[in-house]
Amino acid sequence: MRGRVRLVLAACAVLAANALVLPAPARGFPAFARKYGLRCTACHESWPKLNDFGRAFRDNGYQLLTGKDDTIFETPGYWPASVRITPQYSYTQVTNQATDQGIKNLGSGGVGQVGLDLLMGGTLFQNVSFLVVPTGFAPDGAVFLESAWVRFDNLFGTSWANFKLGRHEVDLPVSAHRPWNLTSTPYLIYSFHANGSASNYDMGENQWGVEYMGHDRGSLNRVAVSVFNVQNSPGTENFWSTPGIYGHATHEWQWDSGIVSEAKIGVFGSYTTWPTTSFTSGGQPIPGTGGNLFPSTKLGGEGQIWFGHPATPFHLILVFAHGEDDKALIANATQNGTFNGGFAEFGWTFTLKNIIFARYDLCKNSQQGDPTLPQNQNDQNAITVGWRHTFQFSNRSEYALHVEYSSWEMVGMGANGLNTRTNQYLVGIDFAY
């Protein structure tokens, strides 16, 4: 009986891993293309990752600033909505899983029941922009409000004064919502915490809060600061129940050179809290949830280089960070847990319709909160490689063949303390309209 339960649990683990293969929330916004008559390639280096023009457009509040941004210039039938969906075949294998037949590698695959992103965004009026993204709509019926914000742009007549209110993605070095990859392997450093930390703060997950953002012409210099209530906190009651702050500043160069056409450097950091105790209605603390906030921090840097011609660049991205979780967040900890990590990614858009990309993620604990644990327990690494071929694109829609492999290893997290590795294979058609 016990063996059957273990088998069921293992199967559930594989199914869960398979479910993660659902496309990562990502952006390609044909509604903008329809409004302005521009092809996807105008804003995307290779869809969905933005290029310089796309970043400037986003930073300007989804405006081209030609005097045609206000919705009154649209035909009454214009509706600022788009959909993105990726029908796909995927196969997932997870190694070193406990079953009633011993430790096994388990795999499953098929044509997944994928959900979709319903993307609604644009301008309400000149210098007032918005984004609302319900996502999900899979057979389980769940719909999740991923983004819901309004932004006041160019306040006081300057691009250095923009304020956003609502659920938004913080200004990451590389957007977690615009990755080239579609398997469930995320940018590990965004969600990584010291081993055993209770904090569930994920930089890549959208947060309810406010953002200040400023930039110069062309967004060569940018700064953004978000203040928010940490998403998914069990102690969340109001804006200040589980506060967090995130900041990011970058400087970019553009050169008239065929060797290195652009480069960008930046720094980012977050200070977030997480509860360790909650309270009953009578005010008695319940261990493990609620109040008694303790911090997690991350501080990092980025470097991005665009080799070759800027219209068909080889884009190299390096992001690294050091993090620390308070010992109070870690079971049996006698010291704060610390870690280092980051990723190196490249995407080569060798034609407007083709990109090959690859990424290596690495996160390593540098100090276990519980010093009795192995130094490298829950160290993680992942490699992702893929190719996208766009069959067609216009100023209304785009569809592409997407082929990808990723492999994500967690040290000491499998059965009997073995390493576990999740291998994912994906072939699909990614389209947006």
Binding site: Y36, G37, L38, R39, T41, A42, N51, D52, F53, R55, A56, L64, L65, T66, G67, K68, R217, G218, S219, W253, Q254, W255, D256, S257, G258, I259, V260, S261, E262, A263, I265, G301, G303, I305, H309, P310, A311, T312, L352, S394, N395
Partner: protein, 251 residues
């Protein structure tokens, strides 16, 4: 950290060692074709004829490059524009139309796409841009200059197209067509930004060189330099942006 600085300096050096060029000149048309397909094709069309997939939905039609006729120039009426003129149009966009500012894409993209745009018209092989007109120093903005400018506006019959109050609603406004036969509406000069740029020299250049391909002629033979500056000041006075934000309004 020293390595990081060294890397940053190396990248900077790579950029700094790039050969200095006049804005927009010396582009690579082969690379420019890719730039064109990435950014321009949906409006200006694969053939450069202004017949892209979005063109039919917009009223100010995209430029047809095949004739080598361009509105925004520093050169005399009828001349080809300079590379710097084309770069300015691409870099700053054309306010009030669907031509955005492409400042963000960088100089190299713009330079190469200019080289490609020139391949659409044989005129670029047989003709050369004339020298840019000389724009004299701008006199100070004053109410007296504005008043004189209004007189120039009336004397030059600007109201026939642009209207008595410069709203773009003159008696001829609804009869005008461009060289390609598309209806064209005179610009409402009271709306704020000016299509070709907001500075005094930008506006001066328009009525001294004209807008080729449109009914807007060059007035260089009929308006003196002093009168032209007065007219500039009158036009600036029509907008809430001026003179408070005189010459500094950005896009």
């Amino acid at each position: 950290m020293k390595r990081l600085y060294a890397a940053a300096l190396a990248f900077a050096a790579l950029g700094l060692t790039a050969p200095a060029r006049a804005q927009g000149s010396g582009g690579d048309p082969v690379k420019g074709k890719v730039v064109y397909e990435r950014y321009c094709l949906s409006c200006h069309g694969e053939l450069g004829n202004g017949g892209g997939e979005f063109a039919e939905w917009i009223t100010t039609k995209p430029r047809d490059y095949r004739q080598g006729t361009f509105k925004w120039r520093s050169t005399p009426s009828g001349s080809l524009p300079t590379d710097a003129d084309l770069d300015k149009t691409i870099r700053d966009g054309v306010y009030g139309t669907f031509m955005p500012t492409w400042f963000a894409i960088g100089e190299r993209n713009r330079r190469d796409v200019i080289a490609y745009i020139k391949t659409f018209s044989a005129r670029w092989k047989t003709d050369k841009p004339q020298a840019a007109i000389v724009i004299p120093p701008e006199p100070p903005y004053s109410e007296a200059s504005v008043k004189r400018g209004r007189a120039v506006y009336e004397k030059s019959n600007c109201a026939q197209c642009h209207g008595q109050d410069a709203l773009g609603d003159g008696p001829s406004a609804h009869e005008l067509k461009d060289d390609w036969g598309f209806p064209i509406v005179p610009y409402d000069l009271t709306g704020g930004h000016i299509k070709c740029g907001d500075t005094g020299p930008d506006i001066y250049r328009v009525f001294m060189t004209g807008l080729n391909g449109t009914p807007m002629p060059a007035f260089s033979d009929s308006i003196s330099e002093a009168d032209a500056w007065d007219l500039v000041h009158y036009i600036q006075s029509l907008s809430a942006l001026y003179p408070k934000n005189y010459g500094t309004a950005s896009k």
